[in-house]
Structure formats: structure tokens, C-alpha cells
């Protein structure tokens, strides 16, 4: 009798245990994110979102993403809202994703401006923020474990090769007077500060002859260009978002002013968008970052650049969303999440962070080597060499890597003719 009762009890317990286990397996992994279909960041935000979506669709076509705690593939549901490039709207929607949609993973919208409002919200809710491209250095601190930067280095790391070139190679080329123009936001401001500090550290070998910010929504640079030209600089560093770079380069071309050495960010990052608006001739001899959308790193995980480009072109044949670095960035976020979900012990947010940090130095994707500062969650890998744009015999853009020396594929043209 006792044996029968114990047997029945065991059967009931096993049954309950099985039910409980089945109930714990989620039917889908919810990834919450925002995109901007309008406003200042629409073009780049949509590119990033579309890159992430390509990964989601690819995984769902394969039956889902492998999640280690459940030892099975689970479909991914992308819960996404439109913040219209508005930080107030974004703040409300980030809250909604966490409190109403109860997403498993929270990914930020494009860039530092739209990520800035997510950082404190994620922290307050003890939710890990998958920061895709918000690289403002102020986001990362040792006392906030609820953020990791997945797809590009933090802003202070970005100008590493530009500052090294200007301060080490510059004086040899005759570059002594540098003009620094930047849009007043976290992304550009942090880079400007890094460059300013590096130039000050040269003790006069290189000096700043112009150092001013402009509002991020600036669309007219002609007067600013004239003011910079009046300082007779040997090199000009103009830091902005894509709309700033387009306006600056167009105004520069139209004004007939020529700088001997000019660096802007987006000709390398969003080449198609900038070339469409500025023209190939307007980009000749311009220095820029060479991101993964140009460098074609050999990935050990995920699609190669050519494969991803083919997937992108198949998905967006009308060209309404342009291919560029931010497309790669969104896709890279997916790859990082895929690896992390396959390694995490649970869906607990800090366990997820531990799994992502565990990828540091080991994950090589289309975006280069993923490397995190374990203490702050800031990306310190995926660095971008300094390149110069030249035109080939057909008038097409050609990127020449000029710094660091170990990656260089050619010599810089200085002064630009």
C-alpha cells in the first residue's frame, strides 16, 4: 500500500515537474527595440533596425535562436516602436517595452542621442540595455552593470587612429594647425574632447586654431567654413552626424573653399547616402573612418560582408533604406545576442550580461573583433582605421587605409590638390 502510494506520489510529482518545465519554456524570445521612421536620425536608425531585422528573420526561418537554459531553439519576436527621432517619445516607449511588453531583451535605437534616455531607464528597471550604436562615453561607468555596447567602440575610442595620425604623422607632413568643428551631442562631443586632449598633449607641436561646436540640427555651414578658412588650418576635423556631413561637404564644394586635409565621419560610415548627396568628386581626398562596411573583415561567426550585402539588396531592392555601417551594426547586435543566448545560464539580465562579456575577444564577426571593457560594458574592439577616399579611373570611390601603419594600403595624399 505504502509502495503504491509512494509510486503515485512520485508519478504526480514527476508530472508536475514536467508541466512546470514545459511552462517555463517561453514560446518566443521577445526583443524590444525602437526605430525612427522620421526625424533627424531616420535614415541611420532605419538602417540599423533593418540590419537587426534581417538577423531576426534569418533565425526564425531556421526555427528560432538556440537558448541554452531551455536547450532548444525558440523563435524570436521583435517588438519595435517608432520614436520618430524624439527623445521624449523614446523614453516613453522604452518604459513601455520594459513594463508593458515585458521584453526579455532591450535593445536601444540608433546613436547616442536616442540611447541616452534608455540608459537610466534600463538601469532603474534592472534591465540590461543592449546598446547598439550609442557610444557616448558618459553612458558607461563601473557602477552600472546594465549596459553593453555591441556594435561599435565608445566615442572616446573612435578617434584613436585620427588623433595618432595627426599628432604623430601630422608634424612630419607639415600639419601643425588643426581646426576642430563638432556637432554638440555626446557622440561628436566625446570624440572632439579626445582629439582636443591629444593635441594639447603634443605641447605645441600641433595646435588647435579653431575649436567650436554647432547644434546637431545645423544644415548651413557656408559661414562656418569661411570662418574656419580664415584661421588658415593645415587640417580640418569636422565631426557630425550624417545630415551634418552632407551639408558641410556640399557647402564646402559649393563655396569653392579647399582644405589641405579634411576629416569627416560619415563618408566611410554611410557611404551610399553621402555619395548620393555630395557626389563622388566632393568626397575625393576626404579622410574618414573605415568601418566594417568598408573593411570586409573575415568573420568566424555569421555572414560575411558580401553575403550580408546580398541579403540586404534582396530585402531592400528599392534603395529606400540605404546600406551602410549602421546596417552592419544592427546585424552585429543580432549575432552578439545569438552567441550570448547560446551561452547564458538563464535569461536573468545579469546572467545575460555575463554571457555577453564572456564573448569579449572571442567573437569575430563581420564587424571585427568584439571586445568589451568588462567593468563598464563599453566596446573597446571593432576599431576603425583612418582612410582616405580616392577616385578610381572610372570615377568610383576607392578607400585607402592610411593609418595605422600595419593596416595601411597606401600613403595619404597631403596636401589635397
Amino acid at each position: 500500500m505504502l509502495r503504491k502510494s509512494l509510486g503515485a506520489l512520485c508519478a504526480v510529482l514527476m508530472c508536475f515537474s514536467g508541466l512546470a518545465s514545459a511552462a517555463e519554456v517561453p514560446s518566443e524570445i521577445k526583443i524590444g527595440t525602437l526605430y525612427a521612421s522620421s526625424g533627424n536620425y531616420a535614415g541611420v536608425s532605419m538602417a540599423q533596425y533593418s540590419g537587426l531585422k534581417i538577423w531576426v528573420d534569418q533565425k526564425n526561418a531556421e526555427g528560432g535562436v538556440f537558448v541554452k537554459p531551455f536547450n532548444r531553439k525558440i523563435p524570436v519576436q521583435l517588438v519595435a516602436y517608432d520614436d520618430q527621432s524624439n527623445t521624449a517619445t523614446a523614453a516613453t516607449l522604452y518604459n513601455q517595452l520594459i513594463t508593458q511588453d515585458k521584453v526579455d531583451i532591450l535593445a536601444a535605437d540608433f546613436g547616442s542621442v536616442l540611447t541616452s534616455v534608455a540608459v537610466p531607464i534600463a538601469r532603474d528597471h534592472h534591465m540590461l540595455l543592449i546598446d547598439q550604436t550609442g557610444s557616448g562615453a558618459t553612458f558607461f561607468s563601473k557602477d552600472n552593470p546594465y549596459i553593453v555596447l555591441t556594435s561599435l567602440p565608445m566615442s572616446s575610442v573612435w578617434p584613436k587612429h585620427v588623433t595618432a595620425f595627426l599628432t604623430r604623422e601630422g608634424p612630419k607632413l607639415g600639419i601643425k594647425r588643426v581646426a576642430l568643428l563638432y556637432a554638440t551631442n555626446d557622440f561628436n562631443g566625446t570624440q572632439a574632447a579626445a582629439l582636443r586632449d591629444a593635441i594639447k598633449a603634443t605641447n605645441g607641436a600641433v595646435e588647435l586654431v579653431y575649436d567650436n561646436g554647432v547644434p546637431t540640427n545645423t544644415t548651413s555651414y557656408t559661414v562656418t567654413i569661411n570662418t574656419i578658412a580664415a584661421t588658415d588650418p593645415d587640417a580640418v576635423v569636422a565631426l557630425g552626424y550624417v545630415n551634418n556631413d552632407i551639408a558641410f561637404l556640399r557647402n564646402l564644394q559649393d563655396s569653392g573653399t579647399r582644405f589641405k586635409w579634411l576629416f569627416t565621419i560619415y563618408p566611410g560610415l554611410e557611404t551610399e547616402a553621402v555619395e548620393k548627396n555630395v557626389g563622388a568628386k566632393g568626397l575625393e581626398h576626404v579622410f574618414t573612418y573605415l568601418p566594417s562596411s568598408v573593411m570586409a573583415y573575415k568573420p568566424e561567426f555569421g555572414l560575411s560582408l558580401s553575403e550580408f550585402r546580398a541579403a540586404w539588396d534582396a530585402r531592400f531592392p528599392d534603395g529606400k533604406v540605404e546600406f551602410g555601417f549602421n546596417s552592419v551594426a544592427g546585424y552585429t547586435t543580432g549575432l552578439v545576442l545569438e552567441k550570448a543566448l547560446a551561452a547564458t545560464d538563464s535569461l536573468d539580465q545579469l546572467a545575460l550580461r555575463k554571457a555577453i562579456v564572456g564573448l569579449s575577444g572571442k567573437l569575430k564577426t563581420i564587424d571585427g573583433t568584439f571586445e568589451l571593457d568588462e567593468a563598464t560594458g563599453a566596446q573597446i574592439g571593432e576599431t576603425q582605421p583612418l582612410g582616405q577616399i580616392e577616385l578610381d579611373e572610372h570615377g568610383h570611390l576607392r578607400f585607402v587605409t592610411v593609418y595605422p601603419p600595419e593596416l595601411a594600403t597606401g600613403k595619404p595624399v597631403y596636401p589635397a590638390p
Partner: protein
């Protein structure tokens, strides 16, 4: 540097006179606030972009076409919406809400149709290299855009002050009910003014790629803010005041960009606050308007 900024400010100001002119004309005649004004400008910009990209049509040729199309669209739109707005107890407030909604619809449709990317027409289309004026060099595209703006504003002035229709338009601007009592076909006059208002915005859009760097579906909101600053500085409801407002705004913006560039985006708001505190009727305003 100051001389360069001042002259650049005048050129830029002429363009912003054109940007604000349509908004002020519509407000002056109908006492409605067209919050979709910037979005009509955006549509004009995209029309010019596609006319240039697909048909190779020069912006100077595209401008009258775009103007005529906007007037043709504005006429039925007036009869469809505006008389209903004017019958409301508070037409100004209702028009703000109505055109805000319209603006959202236009932006959404434009985003679907054109995508989110920046678009522009090469500056060389309006002339290669810089143009030298009073010893200073300016982009030819700027100078041409400023000149076209000046000519367009002059034509509007001629229309208002040298034509019979313009005289009746000004009569409606002074007092709508009295104009009606004297036998003026107020709705016809208003519909034409509404169409011209949209047309002026669309023409300003044609030259936006040259003055504002590039165009995108969501650019309208920023344009609206600047337009309001321009017309409030000049005088609400006074199209000529818009010219003065545009030039004051243009010069102030360029001087700010030269000497205090980080603060330049505060300018429209500072000018608005300043004018409202010191001279609420605007620089060319005569009396306070009682709505």
C-alpha cells in the same frame, strides 16, 4: 568675417522671407495657422528632386511648375477644409490642430513614398564655383536661390499692391466681414491666397536642397519653427513684414554661426521671445490684432 556674415545673412534672409511668405499670407487672409507649411515645402523639395533626377529638369524650370501644381492643389483643398474651419468658434486653434494632423499624415505618406534618406540636387546645377560679391565669395547656388527668392517676393508684392485681385486680398486681410459686405467674393480671394501660400512654400522647397543641405520627409517641423520666428519678427498677417523678418533672422543666424556657433539653434526662440516682449506686433506691426 563680419562683412561676410552680414552679406550671407541677407542672402539667407531673402530665402527665409520666401519660406515665411506663404505662411503669413495664409494667416493674414484667413486667420488660420497652417502647421503643414513646412511639409508643403518638403513636398516641393521632393518634387524638384524627382523632376531633376527623372527628367533632368532644371530647378529654375521646376519652380514655376511646382508653384502651379501647388496652386492647383490648394484651390480645391481650400473649399474642402478652410470654410469649415472658419465657421468654428475658434478658427485659429482649430486650424492649428487640423493642420498639425495634416502634417503628420503628409510626413507619414512621404516617408512611405520616398524613404527616410537624405536627398539633394547638386549645387553645380545652379552654377559652378563661388560667386564674388563685394569682395566676398559665396556659393553660386546660394546667390541664385536668394535672387529667385527676392524676385518671387517682389512678384507677390506686385500682386498684392498693383493688381485688383491683390487689392481685394488686402481688403480681406484688413477685415474679412467688411470685405464680404462690400461685395468681395471672399472665398474666391481666400482660395487664391491659400493656393499662392502653398505655391510659395513649394517654390521655397525647390531651393531647399541648395540652402538647407539636403531634404528629407521630416524636415517640415524645423522649417515651421523658423517660419514662425520670421513672420512674428516681421509682423503676423503682414506679408511685407516677412521680408524684414527674414533678413533680420538671416543676419542674426549667420552672425551667431560666426561668433557663437554652439548657441545658433537658440536663435529663433530668442528672437521670438525678444520680439514678443519688446514689440508684440512685430517690427512692421501697427496695432495689436484682436482675434
Amino acid at each position: 568675417m563680419l562683412a561676410y556674415s552680414l552679406l550671407a545673412g541677407v542672402i539667407f534672409g531673402l530665402y527665409f522671407s520666401l519660406v515665411g511668405m506663404g505662411l503669413n499670407l495664409v494667416f493674414g487672409v484667413m486667420r488660420i495657422v497652417n502647421l503643414a507649411h513646412g511639409d508643403v515645402l518638403m513636398l516641393g523639395a521632393f518634387a524638384a528632386f524627382w523632376l531633376f533626377s527623372l527628367l533632368g529638369l532644371h530647378p529654375l524650370v521646376a519652380a514655376p511648375i511646382v508653384f502651379a501644381a501647388a496652386v492647383a492643389i490648394g484651390w480645391p483643398l481650400y473649399f474642402l477644409f478652410v470654410p469649415r474651419l472658419l465657421r468654428a468658434r475658434d478658427p485659429e486653434m482649430l486650424s492649428i490642430i487640423f493642420f498639425f494632423g495634416m502634417a503628420q499624415v503628409v510626413v507619414a505618406l512621404a516617408t512611405i513614398a520616398f524613404g527616410t534618406s537624405e536627398r539633394s540636387i547638386p549645387g553645380r546645377v545652379l552654377g559652378n564655383g563661388p560667386m564674388h560679391i563685394l569682395g566676398q565669395s559665396y556659393p553660386t547656388a546660394w546667390v541664385v536661390s536668394g535672387a529667385v527668392s527676392a524676385v518671387t517676393v517682389a512678384l507677390v508684392t506686385l500682386y498684392l499692391y498693383r493688381t485688383r485681385l491683390g487689392t481685394t486680398t488686402r481688403a480681406v486681410m484688413v477685415h474679412r466681414e467688411e470685405a464680404l459686405a462690400t461685395g468681395i467674393d471672399v472665398h474666391r480671394v481666400s482660395a487664391i491666397a491659400f493656393g499662392i501660400g502653398l505655391g510659395l512654400a513649394a517654390v521655397a522647397g525647390v531651393f531647399a536642397p541648395f540652402m538647407l543641405g539636403s531634404v528629407r520627409p521630416a524636415m517640415g517641423a524645423d522649417i515651421n519653427i523658423t517660419s514662425f520666428a520670421v513672420i512674428v519678427i516681421g509682423s503676423l498677417g503682414n506679408p511685407l513684414g516677412t521680408v524684414l523678418g527674414g533678413i533680420v533672422y538671416g543676419i542674426a543666424l549667420m552672425v551667431m554661426q560666426s561668433y557663437f556657433s554652439s548657441w545658433a539653434n537658440l536663435l529663433p526662440y530668442l528672437l521670438l521671445i525678444g520680439i514678443l516682449l519688446i514689440r508684440p506686433t512685430g517690427l512692421l506691426g501697427r496695432t495689436l490684432r484682436h482675434a
